[in-house]
Structures are given as C-alpha cells and as structure tokens.
C-alpha cells in the first residue's frame, strides 16, 4: 500500500463516537420516558444524566483537531447550507443545549431548581414570581423536552455519518451505509452506555422494575444490533458488485490493514458477541414468559462490548475511508 497521510485522526473518531453515545443516550431516555413512565424511570434518569457530557468532550476534541482551535467561532458566524460540518456544528450546539436542559430536569435538587416557571399573580399589579417547578410541571417538561430533543438526537446520529458520506472523493464513505450504520450504532452505543451505568449502580432495595427495565434495554439493543447486521450485509454485497472504486474500497475491509479490526473488533465483539449474550438473557422471556435472566456481570460485559464495537467501527471507517480512492486513471 502506498504511503497515506491521515489528516483526520483519532480525535475525529472520538468526536464521532461521543456524539453518537450522547444522541443515543438522549433518545433512549426519551423513549423510556414515553414507553414506560414510572416503570423505566431509572433508565430515563441515567440516560438524561449521561447525554450532555460525551458530546461536549467530543466537541472539545474536535476543536483541538483544528489548526486554529481558538478560532472555532468562525463556524458560528455563518451557515453554509452545502457543508455538513456547518449544519452539524449548529445541530450539535442545539442538541447540547437541549440535552443540558433535559439533564437539569432529571437532576436531583438543588440544581433542578435552577429551572423556574412563572407563578400565577397573587394580585393584579404585583410582580410575577418565578418559582422552581413542582413535580407535575417537571414530569410534563421532561416529556416535552424529550419530544423536542428526539428528532435532534436522530439528526446528530445521522450527521456523524453524513459528514463522511458527503465526500465523493472517498468511495468507502460515499455510500448511504455510513449514515445508516452510524445512526443505528449511535442509538445502540447510547443504550449500552445506559445499560453499563445501570449495571454498575447497585439497585436500591425494593426496586421492583429491575427486570422490566432490563428487558426493555436488552430487547431494544437486540433490535438495533439486528438492524446493524441488515445494513452491513447488503452494503458488502452491493460494493462487491459495483464499480472499481467501490469494490476496491471494500477490499480494504476484506483483505487489508483494517480487516482484522473490522471483523474481530466490530462484527464479532461489537455485534455478534453482545447479540449472543443479550439473546441468552432474553431467551426465557420469549420462550416461557419468565423474567429476563439478570446478572450485572453479563449486563456490564455486553454493554462494554457494544461500546467498544461502536468505537472500533468509527475508527475503521474514518481511517479506511481515507485510504479508499478513485480508480487511478493515469493510464492513457
């Protein structure tokens, strides 16, 4: 292989990964709020408390990948409609703000009391009083912010792939697969982050919903992993049957420097292994209407594997994509 300079490196990988985890954690938290309410409250809270932080770390690493980190504000003086990065910078900022509000709504007091709502005037001509939200208002606000943030988090998940896909010069990136896979993987890693924290925390005594929340997360994750497999498989078939540029970019994954990492790190450890573990856990539910098999060890392991797989996927795609290129047509 010819010598290739990688201009996008591990910082970009980290940024794409963390943005995905945040988007996923937010989406899963919102989903749990709507589907389970009180039953999945722990999931909603963990997701909401995680969501803003990875993306902020990622944005920081993105800024320090610039040649001029302290002039990043140029991004926010303009909207370049044709540049995914410009759209993405605005989208991520919006997402971070929404995620921070959502974080506060789920945070225990006293921080939560930072969010105030105007109270009804006690008498005309008296100033409006802003008071911390009561529980009913909090519950309502959580649902509203989750609904506003859900499409934004999907946008963030998709953007991480569109960023790469918008570049015709790199045939491996320039396919719908990257955006699809990154979006589903973002949701999956977000769910895994929630799962991991939930497994690390010792559940409170008398917590009745442990099995139900476990079943929710595990079935969600199994579904997402299956979708990922159904995105990767046709991608390989199509690329193999396509033009020289496409099929040769596939060869980087099938017999090149990234082959082992892709198949062992992503497909085996990141998809199939957690699928097997989570399938094993869910099996009694499907077959005999029993409770899900729960062990904090298995839960933590499968979640860690999904997270590692998501990071490996982004690493491989970012680096292998920079190796892929058009047919060198200097043959005339």
């Amino acid at each position: 292989m010819e010598h290739i300079e990688f201009h996008w490196n591990a910082l970009i990988v980290f940024y794409l990964f963390t943005a995905g985890v945040s988007a996923g954690a937010f989406f899963v938290s919102g989903l749990a709020t709507y589907l389970g309410g009180e039953r999945y409250k722990r999931i909603s809270r963990i997701g909401a408390l995680i969501a803003p932080w990875p993306v902020m770390l990622g944005l920081l690493s993105l800024v320090f990948d610039l040649t001029k980190p302290f002039e990043f504000w140029w991004l926010f003086l303009t909207v370049q409609a044709t540049s995914p990065m410009s759209i993405g910078a605005w989208l991520l900022t919006l997402f971070t703000v929404v995620a921070l509000v959502y974080f506060l709504l789920w945070f225990p007091r006293p921080w939560r009391d930072l969010l105030k709502a105007p109270q009804r005037r006690s008498a005309p001509n008296t100033p409006r009083i802003w008071k911390p939200l009561d529980q009913a208002q909090i519950n309502k606000a959580r649902r509203i912010v989750a609904a506003i943030g859900a499409p934004i988090s999907i946008g963030v998940g998709m953007y991480t792939g569109v960023l790469l896909g918008a570049v015709p010069a790199r045939p491996l990136w320039n396919t719908p697969m990257v955006a699809q896979l990154f979006l589903v993987s973002a949701m999956s890693t977000g769910a895994a982050a929630v799962l991991l924290i939930a497994a690390l925390l010792r559940p409170k005594a008398g917590h009745d919903y442990l099995h139900e929340e476990r079943r929710f997360l595990v079935s969600l994750d199994i579904m997402l992993i299956l979708v990922e497999i159904f995105i990767v498989t046709p991608f390989f078939l199509h690329q193999a049957l396509s033009t020289w540029s496409s099929s040769s970019s596939l060869r980087i994954l099938l017999g090149g420097p990234y082959t082992l990492l892709f198949w062992l790190g992503f497909v085996l450890l990141g998809l199939l292994a957690p699928l097997a573990i989570e399938g094993f856990e869910l099996f009694p539910v499907v077959w005999r209407e029993q409770a899900v098999r729960y062990s904090r060890l298995w839960a933590g392991l499968s979640a860690t594997l999904v997270l590692v797989g998501g990071a490996v996927l982004r690493y491989v795609i970012v680096f292998a994509g920079q190796v892929s290129h058009f047919l060198p047509l200097y043959t005339r």
Binding site: W74, A166, P168, A169, L329, R332
Partner: protein
Amino acid sequence: MDHPNTSPAKTRWVFVMEPERCIDCEACMISCSVENEAPLGKHRNWIVKIDKGIYPNLSTTFLPENCHHCSNPPCERVCPTGATYRREDGLVLVDFDKCIGCKYCMMACPYDARFVNEEKKAVDKCTFCVHRLDAGLPPACVETCIGHARHFGNINDPESEVAKLLAKHPYYRLYEEAGSEPAIYYIYSNRVIE
C-alpha cells in the same frame, strides 16, 4: 447542459498539459515554491509518474498536476466557514483568515491538491498564481517549464494558446466522475510530437 468551462463571454483560466513534453525536471515545483513560499516539504504542484508495460517494453509518462480549480469544487461545497470560495473568473481560493483548519476540504478533494500549511495554520493550495494573474503575468510554473508541457490561458478566448491546443488534439481530464468539472486538460500522450 450548461458547461461552465466553455460559456463564451467570461474569462475562464485553464491549464492544458502535454504529458509527453514533461521530463520530470521539477522546475515547476521549484519555481512555485519560490514564488508562493510553500513550507519546506509541502508543494502546491507535483508530478505523477506512471510506468506502463512489461519488461522490456516499458514506458514512463509524467503528469504535471496542481489544483484543478474545478467549476464545481467539492472542497468549496464542504467548507464550513466559507473560507474556500470561487472567484468570478473561476479561481478557487482560500481565505487564510477564515480557514480554521478543519481539513474537511482535504477529505473532499479528489486530487489531494491541498495541504496543511503549518506556518499559516491554514489549508493551502495552488492559486494559479492569482497575484501574478492580476498583474497580467502567467503562473510561475508555466514560465519555468523547459519542455513547454504546461500551457495556461483563457479557454473562452478562441485565439488563446490553450483554446487552439484543445481544438487540435483529443484531451481528457482527471476524475471527471467526481462531478468536479476540473480546469486542467491533458492532451493524450500516445501521439507523435511534431
């Protein structure tokens, strides 16, 4: 389809390369680096070497290249700050002040024409020697090309050297499938030099 490279009225600067005349002396690279002060080890123009055939029937062709100043530049499209812009006469230029160095344009360029200029803390590339053009001079690499492999001019002027060359010889452009409408034309090299 409107072909932006050949709509008459406007000036459209293009290169016409004759690979058969290139001897890989690299004088173009030297004069460019002197003229434009590219940092050590980085070049705004370069020469691709192509070996063809099987021993003993071998041949080598040299392809002089620089930024293609595309009519539909993929780099300009993805620039998040508007630092890369396209001038009225088709030149694709970088505003070093606005460039924050995200390197997205380097991902988008099918020709890998761009590099990070560590001195300027920005992404740099060939400008077709815009400062010389504006002073009525041809790019530095054209002036020092001893084999006359590099030709430069306004493709929309039928009397220009480039227009005459393209009218006479079959030509191709690189990576047209990227949809970038590049402005460097290459004369097919399998012909006898007159």
